[in-house]
């Protein structure tokens, strides 16, 4: 049984890392702009497809393919913020409508371009195995965990040590005051969307090779990330990290005792419970008038 728990712990940490990438992007966008971007999952999926494109058609190198996917997604993020979300600021209902529209366009657009068949790419870390006792994992498992850890550290340094990062935090905490001290909110919004989309692209480029690249590959990570940022606390970066990793590990371990066809039900059940007991989440701050 300990072997099983250890195996599921590694698997859960790997999936949890992917959720963390998604959750960080969604929490940044929510914290800074108060936009709940349901289209974040399709950006993740586009990251997988672009990594495939860069890997097979352009560079032939997996690290460069990841980088290419991230840069492309960053540009897409800028475009989405400028063309779609900027005009809908402070209009929650229309933001939801627009993100549903984006899901439809992007998901079906990908099918038009790449066809309905799932794509496969198998760069070296997916082919290589690491043996630990009687267990074995692909190297990609640890690549994912490592890359995400580094990205999270880099993001933390960016948010706390750089002028731009400080401006982002300031805008998220106090938009009016940020304007007073000379921060251009529009620039911050664009930057936020850019970083968030690049993180989604990174996630897709990391997970795609391990599994498959297909039009719905972002749906589940998006829903889990959404649960993660709510459980962690809306707008809280540490909350997104703990929430994402927590969901990954708990859902993996839960399958040792609960039938897998009810796994998602458990995650969503916990989410609803959390909202009822502590709607401001683990790390969130209780806002007056809430609950």
């Amino acid at each position: 049984m300990t072997t099983a728990i250890f195996e599921q712990f590694i698997n859960g940490t790997m999936m949890g890392s992917i959720y963390v990438l998604m959750a960080l992007g969604m929490v940044l966008i929510y914290g800074v702009m108060h936009v709940l971007n349901f289209a974040h999952g399709v950006l993740f999926m586009v990251g997988g497809y672009l990594a495939h494109l860069f890997f097979f058609n352009l560079t032939g190198s997996y690290p460069l393919a990841i980088l290419g996917a991230m840069v492309s997604l960053a540009l897409i993020g800028v475009l989405l913020e400028r063309a779609v979300f900027r005009a809908l600021r402070d209009n929650l209902r229309m933001q939801i409508v627009a993100s549903l529209g984006l899901i439809m366009i992007i998901q079906n657009g990908v099918v038009q371009i790449w066809g309905p068949h799932a794509l496969q790419m198998r760069p070296p870390p997916v082919e290589a195995l690491v043996r630990i006792g009687q267990l074995s994992f692909t190297v990609q498992h640890f690549v994912i965990i490592g890359v995400v850890a580094v990205s999270v550290a880099a993001l933390y340094l960016f948010l706390t040590r750089t002028r731009l990062g400080t401006a982002m935090r300031a805008t998220s905490q106090h938009p009016e005051a940020a304007v007073v001290v000379g921060i251009d909110p529009n620039r911050v919004y664009t930057l936020t969307f850019m970083i968030a989309s690049a993180l989604a692209g990174l996630g897709g480029a990391l997970l795609g090779p391990l599994f498959l690249i297909f039009p719905q590959m972002g749906d589940a990570p998006m829903l889990k990330a959404l649960s993660a940022i709510i459980i962690g606390g809306m707008g809280s970066v540490p909350g997104a990290i703990v929430g994402g990793l927590g969901i990954g590990i708990v859902e993996s371990l839960s399958t040792l005792v609960v039938p897998t066809d009810y796994r998602d039900t458990i995650v969503f059940g916990v989410l609803i419970l959390m909202l009822l007991i502590r709607p401001w989440g683990i790390f969130g701050v209780r806002v007056r008038g809430e609950h």
């Binding site: 229309m94 529209g101 366009i105 038009q112």
Partner: protein, 328 residues
């Protein structure tokens, strides 16, 4: 919203709907697609009460429709309950579940509530799919009977034929439409609108905001349940896929496209989203890409949908006529 515009549009829908079997009697396919559109109009009316009049977004409404659908189907198929009580049973089951979800969750801030509806919808889908013994699971539930025929005096009513079932669906839709009409024109409906526009202000004016939201949510889920029931009775088979997240999102889209907050918004939306693409048989992906762009444009420029656009056109027309009368 202009009352005259709304009433006129509602009247036009009623007359056209009632005459459809005469107009399209020789074209069963048209009648078939119209029936299907009506089956979506009913849950869309439910969402309209919730979103259009109360301002709450639900991304899991087809899950509630599924509760109504499976309840009605099982009551009729396995227990042998007649149509009317079975339909009411389905609506009641969905509505009761709505109350159970609403009591704890409607106190949450609006985006949290959206996430809850999404989560509830996913959980319900899992149950439809996994409870093989009850719902037939993923293989679906075939052999759902159509309502039994009956006679009133010399007139026979039967629902096996397309025309018969169309008329039944039309009557059910018209009743639910009438319910919507009475509701939004009542004091209760006006209070709902005040909640949508400004919750704090409504509360300050003495409106029981939570109570109103709960009532609206319960009605809305019950109506969705009735819609789901009509859909599976029409198809004579139920499948979990008919009640998943994508269907819920499509339902929201339908309403926004047609015009949320308009009496006829759900009708226009269902016809535009279900019937028109089916008639044209546009390839599915292109259809969704097109509707995606339409949504982006609507979100930015016309948040009140087709009805909103029609209303502005109608107003412009009216003004011009008045000008002519005034100065000649």
């Amino acid at each position: 919203m202009t009352r005259s515009f709304s009433n006129l549009a509602a009247l036009a829908c009623l007359v056209l709907g009632a005459l459809a079997p005469l107009i399209f009697g020789g074209q069963p396919y048209v009648l078939y697609v119209l029936t299907l559109a009506l089956c979506y109009t009913i849950p869309a009316i439910g969402v309209n009460i919730l979103y259009g009049y109360t301002g709450l977004v639900s991304l899991g409404h087809m899950g509630f429709a599924g509760v109504g659908a499976y309840t009605t189907a099982l009551l009729m198929k396995d227990v042998g309950v007649p149509f009317v009580p079975a339909l009411l049973g389905g609506a009641l089951a969905a509505g009761v579940l709505g109350v159970l979800v609403g009591i704890p969750c409607l106190r949450l801030r609006s985006h949290f509530f959206i996430v809850v509806t999404l989560a509830v919808g996913m959980i319900l889908f899992t149950l439809f799919n996994n409870l093989d013994a009850l719902t037939g699971g993923a293989e679906g539930l075939p052999g759902i009977p159509r309502p039994a025929p009956f006679s009133i005096g010399p007139i026979d009513f039967e629902f096996r034929s397309l025309t018969g079932f169309y008329m039944l669906t039309f009557v059910v839709t018209a009743l639910i439409f009438a319910l919507q009409f009475v509701l939004v024109r009542s004091d209760f409906g006006r209070s709902l609108s005040s909640v949508r526009q400004d919750e704090a202000l409504a509360s300050a004016r003495g409106v029981n905001v939570f109570g109103h939201k709960l009532m609206a949510f319960a009605l809305s889920t019950a109506i969705a349940g009735a819609g789901g029931a009509m859909k599976v009775l029409f198809l004579r088979a139920a499948a979990p896929m008919s009640f998943d997240m994508h269907e819920s999102i499509n339902l929201m889209m339908m309403l926004i496209l047609g015009g949320a907050g308009y009496l006829v918004g759900p009708v226009v939306g269902a016809i535009t989203f279900i019937a028109v693409p089916e008639f044209l048989r546009i390839a599915a992906e292109m259809r969704f890409i097109f509707f995606g762009f339409v949504l982006l444009v609507l979100a930015r420029f016309a948040p009140r949908g087709i009805c909103g656009l029609a209303e502005s056109a109608y107003k412009k027309l009216g003004r011009r006529e008045k000008t002519v009368v005034g100065y000649s």
